[in-house]
C-alpha cells in the first residue's frame, strides 16, 4: 500500500473532472485519479453542442434558457441553480473558445449555433439556435481542449487507477482508495477535499449509448459510505439511438432539419408536439415513439422508427414549417452541408449499419442515455447529505454523477456539457478554497480494509455464477420494466429480480486471479456497482406514484404536484433502501402544464 497526500483529489477525468482540476490546481495541490486515460472519457462521445444563449445570429437570453430548462425538467429542477447555470453558460463557452476550442463558425466568424430540443424563443415558442457546436464532435473537442489545458498547466494525473472507496472521518472527507491497474497495488490518497466526477451508469440497461466505463462507480461508492442518491428514478432515454446498438445519433440531426418518420411515412411528432414537433424534449419524443410502436406503426411492425435527414425530406418539411435561414432565405440544405455538419453520425451509420443517411433513413430506437439523478449537491458542487441540505465538509461532486438538480425529471440536450463546465469549475474552486482553510482529517487505521473485503468477496466466494449472465439479466429486465413506460407490477418484478441478482452476485466467479491489469476483477466489481444502482433506481421509481419527465407510469399517467413536487433521496442501510424526500426550490416559475 502506498499513501499520497494532496489538498484536492479529483476522481474521474471527463469534462467535469478536468474542469475541476484546472480550477483547483490554480491554488491547491491537486491530483486527478481516473480509471481511463482522460481522453477516453465519455464526454468525448457528446455530439451536438453545448447550450449557451450567446445569440450569435438571433435574439436569445439566459432567462429564456433558464425557463426552457425549468420547463424541460418538468418543474423538478431547482430554479436558483438552473438560473445560475444558464447565466454562467455564456462566459463558460467563451472561456472554452479562449482555451482554443475549435468551434464551428458563422459566416461572421462567431461561434456557430444550431437549434436543439426544448430550446425556444420564449416569445414565439419556436426553436432557437442555442447549441454551440463543433460539427457533431462538440464533446470530443471539449474533452481534448480541457486535457490540453491540463497538460499546459502541469496537472498531476494518476491514469488507470480505479477508485474503489471514499474515506470519511469526523463527518468529513479524508481521501480515497484506488487500485493501480498496471500493478494491482492499492493506493491511499489522503486529501482535504475530494471531488467525484465519475459520470453515469447507463450500462444497467440493455440498449444504451453509454460506454462500458459508465458503471456508476461514484454513486455506488458514496452510497456504501452512507451518502444518499437523489432522484435516481429519472434516467433519460434519448429518442435516437442506432437500432439494436444504442449508439447515439445526435439531436443535432433534428436541429439541422431531420424528422422522425413512422411505418406509414408520417411525421408523427406533429401529433404529439404541434409547435416544437421533432424538437420537443427527449422524454416527450421517446414516449411518442413507444406509443407509435405499440400502435403497430414501427417500421415493418418492429420496435424502431426512421430518422430522416435526406435533403429532399428536410427541405420538404422545412418549407411546410416555413423555416428560414438567418438571412431570411428559405431553409434548403444539400448533401454536402449534411456531410460537413454531421460527419460523425454519417460515419457511424455507414460503419455499423451500412446505411448512408444522405440517401437512406436511419433506423433508430430510444437508448438509455443520461442520469438526471446522482450524488446530491448544491450549486457549488458541495455534496449535501440529507433533507435539510446539510453540507458534508470536503466532499464535492460534478457532472453526470451529481444531482444539483438542474435537470430535474428530464434534461434538455446540450445542458449536460454545460453542467460539467459550470459545476466542474465551481466544485474545483470551492474545493481549493476549502482546502486552504482546512486541515487533513486523520486517515482511518486501516484505510484499505473495505476495498480489500470487497475484492476478497468477489475473488474467494467459491461460487460458479458468471458475471456476464447476471449482467445480461439485469440489462434485459431493466429495459423491459424500468425504461420509457413503467407500471407498479413491472417495477416490483424488476426490484425482486435485482435483489435476486445481488444474491447471485455473491457467488460470482472470476477467472483472472492475477495482479497486473486484472480487468476481469474490475469489470466484476463494476457490475456490483451497477446492480446497486439498478436496485436504487427501481425502488425510487416504484415509490413515485406520478408521471413526470422521464418517469412515465401507465398506472399514474399524470403529474401530481400536490404530492410529488419533491426530490427523492435514497439511502442504502443494512442492505435495505430507505427513501426520504426534500422540497424543490421554486423561485420564478410556478409549475404549469408542459406542452411543446
Amino acid at each position: 500500500m502506498r499513501t499520497h497526500q494532496f489538498d484536492v483529489v479529483v476522481v474521474g477525468a471527463g469534462g467535469a473532472g478536468l474542469m475541476a482540476a484546472l480550477y483547483a490546481s490554480r491554488t491547491a495541490s491537486t491530483a486527478v485519479i481516473s480509471k481511463l486515460y482522460p481522453t477516453r472519457s465519455h464526454t468525448g462521445a457528446a455530439q451536438g453542442g453545448v447550450g449557451a444563449a450567446l445569440g450569435s445570429d438571433e435574439e436569445d437570453h439566459p432567462e429564456w434558457h433558464t425557463y426552457d430548462t425549468v420547463k424541460g425538467s418538468d418543474y423538478l429542477g431547482d430554479q436558483e441553480a438552473i438560473e445560475f447555470m444558464c447565466s454562467e453558460a455564456v462566459p463558460a463557452v467563451y472561456e472554452l473558445e479562449h482555451m482554443g476550442l475549435p468551434f464551428s463558425r458563422t459566416p461572421e466568424g462567431r461561434i456557430a449555433q444550431r437549434p436543439f430540443g426544448g430550446h425556444t424563443n420564449n416569445k414565439t415558442g419556436k426553436p432557437v439556435r442555442r447549441a454551440c457546436y463543433a460539427a457533431d464532435r462538440t464533446g470530443h473537442m471539449i474533452l481534448q481542449t480541457l486535457y490540453q489545458q491540463c497538460i499546459k498547466n502541469k496537472v498531476n494525473f494518476y491514469d488507470e487507477f480505479q477508485v474503489t472507496d471514499l474515506l470519511l472521518n469526523n463527518g468529513a472527507a479524508a481521501g480515497v482508495v484506488a487500485l493501480e491497474l498496471a500493478t494491482g497495488e492499492l493506493h491511499v490518497f489522503h486529501a482535504k477535499a475530494v471531488i467525484f466526477a465519475t459520470g453515469g451508469h447507463g450500462r444497467i440497461w440493455e440498449i444504451t449509448s453509454n460506454a462500458y466505463a459508465y458503471s456508476g462507480d461514484g454513486v455506488a461508492i458514496t452510497l456504501r459510505r452512507g451518502i444518499p442518491a437523489e432522484d435516481m428514478e429519472f434516467f433519460q432515454f434519448h429518442p435516437t439511438g442506432i437500432y439494436k446498438l444504442g449508439i447515439l445519433i445526435t439531436e443535432g440531426v433534428r436541429g439541422e432539419g431531420g424528422v422522425l418518420i413512422n411505418d406509414k411515412g408520417e411525421r408523427f411528432m406533429e401529433r404529439y408536439a404541434p409547435t416544437a414537433k421533432d424538437l420537443a424534449s427527449r422524454d416527450v419524443i421517446s414516449r411518442a415513439m413507444y406509443l407509435e410502436i405499440r400502435e403497430g406503426r414501427g417500421i415493418g411492425g418492429k420496435n424502431y422508427m426512421y430518422l430522416d435527414i435526406r435533403p429532399e425530406t428536410v427541405n420538404k418539411y422545412a418549407a411546410l414549417d416555413g423555416r428560414k435561414r438567418t438571412d431570411g432565405s428559405p431553409y434548403l440544405i444539400t448533401s454536402e452541408e449534411i456531410l460537413a455538419k454531421l460527419p460523425e453520425i454519417i460515419d457511424f451509420c455507414r460503419t455499423y449499419m451500412g446505411v448512408d443517411p444522405v440517401s437512406q433513413p436511419m433506423p433508430i430506437q430510444p437508448t438509455a442515455h443520461y442520469a438526471m439523478g446522482g450524488i446530491p449537491t448544491n450549486k457549488y458542487g458541495e455534496v449535501v447529505i440529507d433533507e435539510r441540505n446539510s453540507v458534508m465538509p470536503g466532499l464535492y461532486a460534478a457532472g453526470e454523477v451529481a444531482c444539483v438538480s438542474v435537470h430535474g425529471a428530464n434534461r434538455l440536450g446540450t445542458n449536460s456539457l454545460l453542467d460539467l463546465l459550470v459545476f466542474g469549475k465551481y466544485s474545483g474552486l470551492r474545493a481549493a478554497a476549502f482546502a486552504q482553510g482546512a486541515g487533513f482529517q486523520p486517515l482511518p487505521e486501516d484505510p484499505t480494509d473495505f476495498t480489500r473485503a470487497q475484492f476478497d468477496t468477489i475473488l474467494n466466494n467459491g461460487g460458479t455464477e458468471k458475471a456476464a449472465d447476471i449482467a445480461a439479466e439485469m440489462k434485459r429486465v431493466m429495459n423491459d420494466h424500468v425504461s420509457v413506460f413503467r407500471t407498479a407490477e413491472g417495477m416490483q418484478l424488476a426490484l425482486d429480480k435485482m435483489r435476486e441478482l445481488q444474491e447471485r452476485f455473491k457467488k460470482v466467479q472470476v477467472g483472472d486471479r492475477g495482479k497486473i491489469f486484472n480487468t476481469d476483477l474490475l469489470n466484476t466489481w463494476e457490475l456490483g456497482n451497477l446492480l446497486e444502482l439498478a436496485e436504487v433506481t427501481t425502488a425510487s421509481a416504484l415509490s413515485r406514484q406520478e408521471s413526470r419527465g422521464a418517469h412515465a407510469r401507465e398506472d399514474y399517467p399524470r403529474r401530481d404536484d400536490a404530492n410529488w413536487l419533491k426530490h427523492t433521496l435514497a439511502w442504502k442501510e443494512d442492505c435495505k433502501i430507505r427513501l426520504g424526500y426534500k422540497p424543490v426550490e421554486i423561485t420564478k416559475y410556478e409549475p404549469k402544464e408542459r406542452v411543446y
Partner: protein, 234 residues
Amino acid sequence: MQVRLKVFRYNPEKDKKPHYETYTLEVQPTDRVLDLLEHVKNYIDGTLSYRRSCAHGICGSDAMRINGRNRLACKVLVKDVGGSKITVEPMLGLRVIKDMIVDMEPFFEHFRSVMPYFVNDDPPPKRERLQSVEQRERFDDTTKCILCAACTTSCPSFWANEKYVGPAAIVNAHRFIFDSRDQAGAERLRLLNDQFGVYRCHTIFNCTDACPRDIQVTQAIGEVKRAIATGRID
C-alpha cells in the same frame, strides 16, 4: 457464421514468452471484433485482457492489430475483415504489458513534447476570438485525433527508433500550428525540426491507412515539413 479468432496472449505473471490461442466462435457478420473479444472474456477465458470503453470508435481505447493492420476493435465488423480467420495482436513498437494491453506512456510522452495546447498570451476579448469559416477549416482534419496510437505504432520509422515523436504527436502539433488564433506555431516548428522530428517521416503512408478517424496524417506531416522548410505557415 463461424470464425476462428486467433489471439496474441501474454500474461507476465505466468508466461515466459507470448503465444497464440485460437477460439472458434459462432458470430453475426455485423458483430464488432470487440464483441468477439468480449465473448471470449465473458464466457471462455476471463484473463483475456484489452482496453475498451465507448465501443463506437470515439474514445480510442481499443486500437490493436487486426489481421496485421492497426484498427479499433470496436470499429471493425466481422464482415469487413474478409474471410473467417481473424488474428488479433497488440500494436507494435510499444512494450506489451498483458495480451493486447501495451504501455502507452511513451506515446503520451511524445504527445506532450510538442506543446499540444493552445497558446495565445494576448488578453482575451470579452466574447470569442473571431475566426473565419476558412481559417477554421484549415486545421479541421487534425482536430479529429483521438490519441489511439494506431498511426504511430504502424510507422516503420517509429519501430526503428522509439525516440521519433511519431505521426500522432505531429498531427496534434499541426492542429495548433495551423490555427489562426494560436501564437506558438514557430516554437512547435522548431521542436519538430529535430533529428527525432518530422524528417523521420519517409511518407510510407501506413499512418494514414491506420487512422480510424480518416485523418490525412501523411499530408499533415507534409504540411508541417513544408512550413519548416519555407518558414511560412499557410
